[in-house]
Amino acid sequence: MTAGGKRNRTGSFVRLLLVGGPVALILLLVPEVADPYQTQLLTYGLVFAIAALGFNLLLGYTGLLSFGHSAYFGMGAYTVGFLVRDLGVVSMEAAIAGGVVGSMLVSALFGYVCVRHTRIFFAVLTLALSQVLWSLAFKFFWITGGTDGIRVPQLALLGGLIDFSGNGAYLRFIISYYYYVLAFFLVSVAVMWLIVQSPFGKTLQSIRDNETRARFLGIEIRRYRWVAFVISGTFTGLAGALWVPLNGLTTPDILWWPFSGEIVFMSVLGGFRSFAGPLVGAVVFNFLKAYAVASTEYWQMLLGIVLIALVLALPGGIVGGLAKLSLRIRVRKNDEAMT
């Protein structure tokens, strides 16, 4: 790599710190000001943000729409469930490591098959394969617990440094688990930022924008797509692993394809054309869903209407919409300055 490229990458990392730093500071202060319920909701939001972050490496940066990311989220979650129930793992870090490896293996296998296709066939193939896992989790109830799922207790964090027993354990769990997830979230964002800014990430974007030209440059398109798929699935699997202790239970619902739809929804809500879009979208989606579920029996309808309205009226999502708005304000200011 040239020196110029290196300087560019350092510059982009500085940019991430400039925007991300204040946001991270605000996130650090949340448990101080918000009540435990809000904190817990935000924890869920951050977990889904990691999932959407991984998902968007495929949709936003590689141009492949997966309708089967429930498989990798669920694989992360179920691996944690198996490790805790069958192998007696008590350390959260060990469980996460297992979940990440599990989802990485499955996404490597599924990805190897799926990247032979693009567009609609890719979407249908990812969906079909994710449903294989769903039906197995659903039918082999003596292994997976069927629709009852697998119960996972609150595991000790940081190698037993923080454990949850005695008085006020639940409250302590909510607060410390928030920080725990936040740490994973910040590291994931930084790592993903490095990935999309790296030559590898730029190559993915060139494949997305013009497959034929990329192929003329001698890029092995399928291999790049496969690697992107594995990274994407692994991030989503990490989210699944982090999600289980929070939820206390893993059920086949998170392997079912409508959950894949929710991950797509989050990314589109925030705007999949930008790096931050899926992160914002996941957090907003989670609050939106929580309040919709609390306020009406027909929350699905509400979410469906929001999704349709978004696609028809605001295809850039929240972040895209804001960017457009700020551009318009700046243009107007320029015009005023000119006259």
Binding site: V113, Q131, V132, K139, L307, V311
Partner: protein, 292 residues
Amino acid sequence: MDIFIIQVLNSFFYASVLFLLAAGLSLIFGVMGIVNLAHGSLYALGAYVTAWTVTSIGGDLPLVVLLLLLPAGAVAVAAVGLVMEPTLIRPLYKRPEEYQLLVTFGLLLVLEDVMRLLFGGTPLSAGTVMDKLGSVPIRSLYYPTYNFLVIVIGALAALCLWFFIYRTRFGVLLRATSQDMRMASALGLNIGRVYIQAFGLGCFMAGLGGAIVVPSQAAVLGMGIDNLVLAFVVVVIGGLGSLKGALIGALVVSFVRTIMVQFFPEIELAVLYLIAAGVLLVRPTGLFGKPS
């Protein structure tokens, strides 16, 4: 042996329903290039409307009237389709296909709750039709007469659709649009009208599938989402956009499913999804799809 005959009949019964569902999905994709994720929910809507019509209006009316009431679901769903296409789908033709998947996923969420709102959370059945038709003795066992009717309807639907697409003027327009939309448009075809007709017809078939299944299986929430994935398997095996493919695919899925349920019930669904994935790998366009 008797069980075997029953299972073969069951497979044909299920293939009829699945064909109607998958052929609609395939027709809409073939002509308009849209994968409609709400298609399964339209099928469920057809089932609900028919069950509601038969139980609330039908009451104690004679059997013939009840049978005539069955298509109510199909007509209602076609009407929904005719409203949906111009308002929600038409703005998306020029956008990348990801957006079409998203809008139809949004529609799926809306439709699922509309059904919950209109018909409540309890299963709704039109079982009186099936009961009144009685059953036919097959050696030592009895088989519901209604199931034969469904098999006949499925076969008739396949025939009608084939005639429609390959022997009528409307079919020529459909095929022309599906092969080359721009050229058809340049030759003076009203593409908008072809699209709305194709979408309406596809929805009608999904609704009919739901309508004929509901006398033997009650309409429940979520039935559409489950069946959509099976319809996907059918069209992936047969080839998206192919009528013959939808028929063969429906038969393959139904028979494989019956065999699996009989011998390996745990992996029944997994095997179907794996077959679909395998076909996509070996022949991406399905057994009867046109190579792109």
